[in-house]
């Protein structure tokens, strides 16, 4: 029983982080109809930003976190205006371009940041024990921050004028344009937000785990699985799917073996896409 509760806690904590990782991807697909294969690499950039700002320069963590998000937000704007313009709306071209971007950024990372794996000291050290369940303070804080950002995003999307514009473009870009929505502006904004969220998750991962240029590959795969299982373009779907993935990973690790958890997640994705392609909450 103790093991079960431990698994539950671990799974939910990681699920929140995964949700944060996946939401950016979800947003891009909804608004720009593109899948960003390089999503993991932006997470990586966020992690390195935290490494330099918090780990090397010694900035207080929260400040470095905000600055990381801001940097990636700006980067998102820049990329959209520069590179993605010619392929916007063309899903296949976007897939392929971002595939190349992903390879490029990863290898650029090795060149620029060096080959050695890095780490930062935990900004929230300590053990939290409730009954027999043990977890680190860092993980709890991570989950809380992730939920906070997710809440913030949901507020923007569902309660603000900007959010209405996002949803309009996601539903029908032409109609949205007729309503006076500036598609180009919305696209840039969505990419910027997406990258900021990726950077935020990167910052959190940097403190929890390690930092190396290929660190984005696994989170990217997870994000893809989550977004597809949840339903491309559905935010609530992505959140549910993320928690599901976190729990599957945790319970499979505990009861079957860690080496099976990766395969189990992909099997779940495979089955969902094969038999319910619109995902849990998506539109077909």
């Amino acid at each position: 029983m103790a093991l079960f509760t431990q698994g539950l806690v671990n799974g939910l904590e990681m699920g929140c982080l995964y949700a944060l990782m996946a939401l950016g991807l979800c947003l891009i697909f909804g608004v720009m109809k593109t899948v960003n294969f390089a999503h993991g690499e932006f997470l990586m950039l966020g992690a390195y930003a935290t490494y330099y700002l918090f780990g090397q320069i010694g900035m207080p963590y929260i400040l470095s976190f905000i600055l990381t998000m801001a940097l990636l937000f700006a980067l998102g704007f820049g990329i959209e205006k520069g590179f993605l313009r010619p392929i916007r709306g063309n899903t296949v071209a976007g897939f392929i371009f971002t595939l190349g971007l992903s390879m490029f950024l990863m290898n650029l990372g090795w060149l620029v940041f060096g080959l050695v794996t890095k780490g930062v000291p935990s900004p929230f050290p300590g053990l939290l024990q409730v009954g027999t369940v043990r977890t680190s303070v860092e993980r709890v804080v991570t989950a809380v921050i992730a939920l906070g950002l997710i809440g913030g995003l949901m507020y923007i999307v569902y309660r603000s004028k900007l959010g209405r514009a996002f949803r309009a473009v996601a539903q029908d870009p032409e109609a949205a344009q007729l309503q006076g929505v500036n598609i180009s502006h919305i696209s840039s904004l969505s990419l910027a937000i997406s990258l900021a969220l990726a950077g935020a998750s990167g910052s959190l991962v940097a403190c929890l785990f390690n930092i190396l240029p290929s660190m984005g590959v696994r989170p990217c795969a997870l994000a893809f699985v989550i977004v597809v299982v949840g339903g491309l373009g559905s935010i609530p779907g992505a959140i549910i799917a993320a928690l599901l993935v976190g729990l599957v990973e945790s319970f499979v690790s505990i009861y079957v073996g860690t080496i099976w958890s990766w395969g189990a997640i992909f099997l779940m994705a495979f089955l969902v896409i094969a038999f319910r392609p619109q995902g849990l909450r998506g539109r077909a």
Binding site: G7, W110, G119, Q129, S136, N210, I254
Partner: protein
């Protein structure tokens, strides 16, 4: 049109290109004028210079550079400690090395291309291969061309009678390390129960199996064997299971420091207070960056030597390496991969020939002072009882511990005899 293009491109690849080695080592002019010209022969490396394992590939590259420069210039180790002139001799002719390294990216198809380039274009008769999977894919090509090969990798498939020209000087051997360290653990740490947490890779499983056997034979109870995916970062599930069993020691038989550092960090975070031990050489800086000195207090690792160095060649290597790459780049585990160049060169000199068969026969027969090891005296060529031929260097084994903000040597164990 298209056909022309494709064929043209294929044929264009045939245009002989000037072979530009990545890191050419210029033979340094020694103090006294040399009367004779040394012939420069290439030593090729199928390395890994990009990708997740590039950190080791680059380290290995730096190690080779230092030693090749030293051999060519008759410097601190080759000249002073081993008493050689600059360069090396075979059949009366003086030779010097030129290091050529290409990136095989740990991909066997790429490795094939790289090794065929080294053999057929750069005319290498001596090649060093980083990692077993690249070696295995190119094995038939290397043997067919009689290339004297040194392998960085501890798979039993990479050595043995069907690799007649292949040698290995790595200290990390899944069949040998456990025979040395398991008894040491039993005798010195008073451990009665152990839980193993290992990477799910060939090396991880092999080390785990052999350590498991050794521990059981010695009466140490193995409470659990948990496996995780290579390059995993979240060990909370296996650690939770292990810590619940309360073992005296948590043992990681063979994992890179990016994983071990996180294991240590997460184990301590989850409140584990027992002994943490890794059965492989550490990359200390990475461990500290990930886990912090506090979590690492009392952490044991093996196959590494820390200052103060008991043997002159260790001090020399430390000075050279830190001079070139900084103190932060240093780790005691660098010695583990450093024994190839000198031994290869010594074997050529003993064989008095560049022919792979002669060199292999000579190397096999080298004993005592004919061999060189950064780990200290007493190393011998062994492996007959395990692999079928004596192509492994069996050196001194070392145990180190991290304590009070630094790494110290805890034990120096003579080479296990009769292998």
């Amino acid at each position: 049109m298209i056909a022309i293009l494709s064929v043209g491109l294929i044929l264009a690849s045939c245009a002989p290109e000037p072979t530009t080695p990545t890191q050419p080592t210029a033979p340094t002019t020694p103090a006294e004028p040399t009367e004779e010209e040394a012939i420069i022969i290439p030593w090729g490396t199928a390395s890994c210079l990009s990708g997740p394992y590039a950190a080791w590939g680059m380290e290995e590259h730096y190690i080779q550079e230092i030693q090749v420069d030293d051999i060519n210039s008759g410097g601190g180790c080759w000249g002073d400690i081993l008493g050689h002139e600059p360069g090396f001799r075979a059949n009366g002719q003086l030779y010097k090395w030129e290091l050529i390294a290409y990136d095989a990216k740990m991909d066997p198809v790429e490795g094939n291309k790289v090794i065929s380039r080294l053999i057929y274009e750069d005319k290498c008769k001596f090649i060093h291969v980083f990692m077993d999977q690249v070696y295995l894919a190119a094995k038939s090509m290397l043997i067919e061309n009689k290339v004297l090969t040194t392998v960085q990798g501890d798979s039993p498939d990479s050595v043995g009678p069907d690799s007649p020209y292949t040698f290995r000087t790595l200290l990390s051997n899944p069949e040998i390390n456990p025979r040395v360290y398991a008894p040491w653990i039993k005798d010195n740490l008073g451990v009665q129960t152990v839980a193993m947490i290992s990477e799910d890779s060939e090396m991880g499983r092999l080390h785990c199996e052999h350590y498991g056997d050794q521990f059981s034979d010695l009466g140490i109870q193995v409470l659990a064997e948990e496996f995780y995916e290579t390059l995993a970062t979240d060990f909370s599930a296996p650690l939770a299971k292990i810590i619940a069993l309360n073992p005296d020691m948590i043992f990681s038989p063979h994992a890179p420091s990016e994983e071990v550092g996180l294991i240590v960090k997460q184990a301590r975070e989850l409140g584990y207070e027992g002994i943490l031990f890794e059965g492989v050489c550490p990359a200390t800086k990475t461990l500290v960056d990930l886990a912090g000195w506090d979590a690492l207090e009392g952490f044991y690792s093996v196959n590494a030597v820390s200052p103060p160095f008991p043997y002159p060649q260790q001090q020399w290597f430390y000075d050279e390496y830190t001079a070139r790459h900084g103190v932060d780049a240093w780790s005691g585990g660098l010695f583990d991969r450093a024994d190839d160049p000198y031994n290869l060169t010594l074997a050529i000199e003993k064989a008095n020939s560049l022919d792979a068969e002669d060199v292999a026969a000579a190397w096999e027969s080298m004993t005592g002072d004919e061999l060189f090891s950064f780990f200290g005296p007493g190393a011998y060529m062994g492996g007959q009882t395990i692999y079928g031929n004596n192509h492994i260097l069996v050196p001194r084994h070392w145990v180190s511990m991290i304590t009070e903000g630094k790494e110290i040597n805890v034990a120096e164990i003579p080479p296990p005899p009769g292998l």
